[in-house]
């Protein structure tokens, strides 16, 4: 498994408990529009991602992330930085 594929799998596993509608999650799935997450859900989810990878995702970075693929890329970048 490549590093990105591994990160992708771990991120998607973290999404599942918050995927209330049970929609299929792809790179293109958007957090606000498709998963319909509110700000508190985002806070909890981001905290879980931060704990999982021992990284910090600032609100400034979050503002640039709209979909799952972008988050995986961002996490991947931080892990290798």
């Amino acid at each position: 498994m490549t590093d990105r594929a591994e990160t992708d799998a771990r991120v998607k596993a973290l999404i599942e408990p918050f995927n209330k509608k049970g929609i299929p999650v792809t790179d293109e799935t958007r957090f606000a529009q498709d998963l319909e997450w509110d700000s508190l859900t985002v806070l909890d989810f981001v905290a879980n991602v931060e704990d999982e990878f021992d990284i910090l995702i600032t609100m400034n970075q979050q503002a640039e992330i709209e979909n799952v693929g972008q988050l995986v890329d961002a996490v991947e970048k931080m892990r290798t930085a």
Partner: protein, 416 residues
Amino acid sequence: MSGNWSTRSKRCGRPELTDLFSKFDPLIETREQLLSTGITDPFNLVMEEVVSPTVAICNGRKTILLGTYNYMGMTFDPDVIAAGKDALDRFGSGTTGSRVLNGTYVGHKECEEALKDFYGMDHAMVFSTGYQANLGIISTIAGKDDYIVLDIDSHASIYDGCALGDANIVPFRHNDIEALEKRLKRLPEGAGCLVVLEGVYSMLGDLAPLKEMVAVSKAHGAMVLVDEAHSMGFIGENGRGVAEAQGVIDDVDFIIGTFSKSVGTVGGFCVSNHPKFEILRLVCRPYVFTASLPPSVVATAATSIRKLMHGKAKRDHLWENSQKLHAGLKGLGFTLGTEEPQSAIIAVIMPDLEKGAAMWEALLHEGLYVNLARPPATPANMTLLRCSLCAEHSAEQVDEIIGMFEAAGRKTGVIG
């Protein structure tokens, strides 16, 4: 309206105008829906006369005020009024200038001296509003590449200060000490960090665990700013706030406060012991590029602050009021923001905005004004009826208030 815009732009041969107001459409619709039920607009109340810190005339009716931030009831204090009148006569109605040019009068310096005495700190800087104090201090000391770690439920003025300074913003779950510590641990080595906390969170009236949070922040080399807007004058042995009450005021780098709550006028401030603090007067844009407070305002503020130092009896009575109201509302079956009363704010949680607005209106008809708070100002999308008590509310008034809540609650079906 939109038709007019597009007709005109077409006639001029220009591309069709995009209405910048379109983004407000959902809010306009929510508002229209609410008001179409015939309910009084909760965000458009006019105080026709103000009789005292606790009573006003609204819609021609005598109304008990339970939704002001006049915690210590200083707005009609005779010494405060006299100081304001005297300053008006001696210094005129306004300064027409910035603090760093022609806008620093002897009254501004006296007000800063009063704050230094009140907090026992070396430096005090007075801003034109509390909002500007947060905006100015936060944006100036934490800039690009610095980190601000803050409670997710922070006040809008804190978030706006973060945005203005362009710092990296790291929020943590409300009042969660472990969540704060985790984030501090992950900061890049050597990065500048400001932890921003509030003593009392104004929506639910709950306190921050400052003792633990300040210790954790200091252990990780961060500077700490505490906004004590809703605790000044009331909480702590000398009314210095939650940081004083929890014994950590000496470890707090910056305290932000306001004159528009316990002090009873308008204005904001920051106090600090930082040896380089005074340089902020030259580099803090929301301090420099605005007119200073009118002489009468700083005179009333200074007088009020000095009187608040000796406000023990008032503080005690305010605690009694808070406990009495909390117990009374809880006994009636209302859901409250905190299990126990923690401050002078008692938040009553409403099932939804519609019920909240109906309850707000029913209370107004009973002769009681409270704050209706709703998203996005509130945490977790709650609709709240926020009650803030005053040291000048008599025990009888608090009984009356509880009776009004009972009547309005039954009428609207919020309680059974």
